[in-house]
């Protein structure tokens, strides 16, 4: 059985390789020999423009990465806080629970780009004393607020997935509501939603580019500036390459982790 499968696998792999090379080769050949290729190349894949745009775009991308890292950490922490508040029990916590629900509904209901424009242009325009006016600050803050609303729901589904008996077991030992959550429920809850959290991470890594609408000079903004000066789109391709360099491996990692996680679970259930 095993031998047969392995043989099939080896044969399957060579067939897959062959057909892949054939299909991709055909596609590339079709593109390269089309009469528009020269125009496409000089507009999108021009080596000189690429070299010229690259330093600024790269510099902008470095800002993207920093915004992403800071936002991601803030999201993971803040969303957990919101989810915990939302899952508190007892009438005393009703007001904060309602507040959490309101916040989640609001930020999940508004398109991210709209929220960024609203906060990024709106709040500085108010000119309130003591309130930061930097578009960068408000852009990242909006990302955090919006993503935290989603992420809080991810955490909450994790909390709900822990059997009620775990909580009563902890409470029966004399642990407080908070201690039961902290030591018994949350560790299991978080572990259950790591794949979903990773997916959020992959998508945030791209969405940081949205703060470019505020004029923040991250990669997309730099590419845009270059294009507006030269009427050449190669700078966009440069930005694309940079984003793909991070997002593709990240997405692969998320998939790999999810698959491993599923395998672990089915093994535990068996």
């Amino acid at each position: 059985m095993r031998g047969w499968l392995a043989e099939e696998g080896a044969k399957g792999a060579s067939v897959a390789a062959l057909s892949t090379v054939a299909v991709f080769g055909l596609a590339v050949w079709a593109v390269l020999r089309s009469e528009n290729w020269d125009a496409v190349q000089s507009q999108f894949f021009n080596p000189e423009n690429f070299a010229e745009a690259w330093p600024d775009v790269l510099q902008g991308f470095w800002l993207d990465l920093r915004m992403f890292a800071i936002a991601q950490i803030a999201i993971l922490v803040f969303a957990l806080l919101v989810a915990v508040v939302r899952s508190l029990r007892g009438p005393a916590f009703l007001p904060v629970r309602l507040l959490a629900v309101l916040y989640i509904d609001l930020f999940r209901g508004v398109p991210l780009i709209l929220a960024i424009l609203l906060f990024g242009f709106g709040v500085p325009a108010l000119d309130l004393p003591g309130v930061p006016r930097s578009p960068l600050f408000w852009g990242v803050t909006t990302l955090v607020l919006s993503y935290s609303a989603y992420t809080a729901e991810v955490y909450r589904s994790g909390i709900d997935s822990v059997p009620e008996s775990q909580r009563s077991s902890a409470r029966s030992l004399g642990l407080t509501q908070w201690q039961s959550l902290r030591y018994a429920v949350l560790p299991q809850a978080v572990r259950n939603v790591v794949p979903a959290l990773l997916n959020g991470l992959v998508s945030l890594q791209k969405d940081v580019a949205l703060v470019s609408v505020l004029g923040v000079r991250e990669a997309v903004r730099e590419a845009q500036i270059y294009t507006s000066l030269t009427f050449n789109y190669t700078s966009y391709v440069a930005a694309t390459v940079l984003f793909l360099l991070i997002s593709v491996p990240a997405a692969r990692f998320a998939d790999w982790y999810s698959a491993r996680d599923r395998a672990r679970r089915s093994q535990m259930a068996a």
């Binding site: 775990q166 077991s169 902890a170 029966s172 030992l173 004399g174 642990l175 030591y183 299991q188 535990m268």
Partner: protein, 253 residues
């Protein structure tokens, strides 16, 4: 053993509990003295688990009182955590924390709820684990243990807080038959050492051996209560007789 004048460790006065429209407990009266072992028996769904959960304040009762050493623990404004620190419950399905090692499972409550230092809690935990044949399992995760070992670990977890009252809810029903014995032996040992226990069980033979008193629950009340020899062999109530004869037919007594 204990005179009537002594304050009972646990006392239930007319305890009522219902879930929505379903009335489960309808005036439970029960007294458990220190060092006493009381077995709750009765058909499935008669409310044995509910009663134990009410005592541990995991369910709120609708009417009546529950007293621990004479103090009403169902009164308004009572500190439920303080009450729960004095008793422990062991569930049918163990409910160990799967993300913690056996040692961490066992020391969590002493460390976090009772403020015992880690080194001290662990020393005591290892000692107890050793007594219950789990010395080499301290660093394993629950999923690596057999059902019987998991249930013994759950009992050790309950014991580390030195409970004044131990509640056991059908602790052997989720186990394979060959693993039941090791868990029952542990409970027998606890009974000998003087632990005050209330246990719900379907193991009539075990109830006969270990209990000072057997209580038959029927339609939300304690219908019959007395020494095991009397209740199990010569019940006064027709309902008890019917229940026991079904059990005997099923070969469980």
């Amino acid at each position: 053993m204990t005179g009537d004048h002594a304050v009972a460790r646990l006392r239930l006065d007319g305890v009522h509990k219902r879930f929505g429209a379903k009335v489960v407990l309808e005036g439970i009266d029960l007294v458990v003295h220190e060092h006493e072992v009381v077995c709750l028996i009765g058909p499935s769904g008669c409310g044995k688990s509910t009663l134990l959960r009410c005592v541990d304040l995991l369910e709120r009762i609708d009417r009546g009182r529950i007293l621990l050493d004479g103090r009403d623990i169902t009164a308004r404004g009572i500190d439920t955590n303080a009450v729960r620190k004095r008793m422990a419950i062991v569930f049918q399905s163990f409910n160990l924390f799967p993300h913690l090692s056996v040692l961490d499972n066992v020391t969590l409550a002493p460390r976090k709820a009772h403020g015992v230092r880690r080194s001290q809690a662990e020393a005591k935990a290892r000692d107890l684990l050793g007594r219950f044949g789990l010395a080499d399992k301290a660093d394993e995760y629950p999923e690596r243990l057999s059902g019987g070992q998991q249930q013994r670990a759950a009992i050790v977890r309950a014991l580390t807080i030195d409970p004044d009252l131990l509640l056991l809810d059908e602790v052997t029903s989720a186990l394979d038959p060959e693993l039941v014995g090791e868990v029952l032996a542990v409970i027998r040992e606890l009974a000998r050492s003087g632990m005050t226990m209330v246990l719900a069980t379907h193991e009539m033979g075990f109830a006969r051996d270990v209990a000072d008193r057997v209580c038959f629950l029927h339609e939300g009340r304690v219908l019959e209560s007395g020494p095991p020899a009397q209740v199990l062999r010569d019940p006064t109530q027709e309902r008890t007789r019917q229940f026991l004869s079904r059990i005997i037919d099923a070969g469980r007594l």
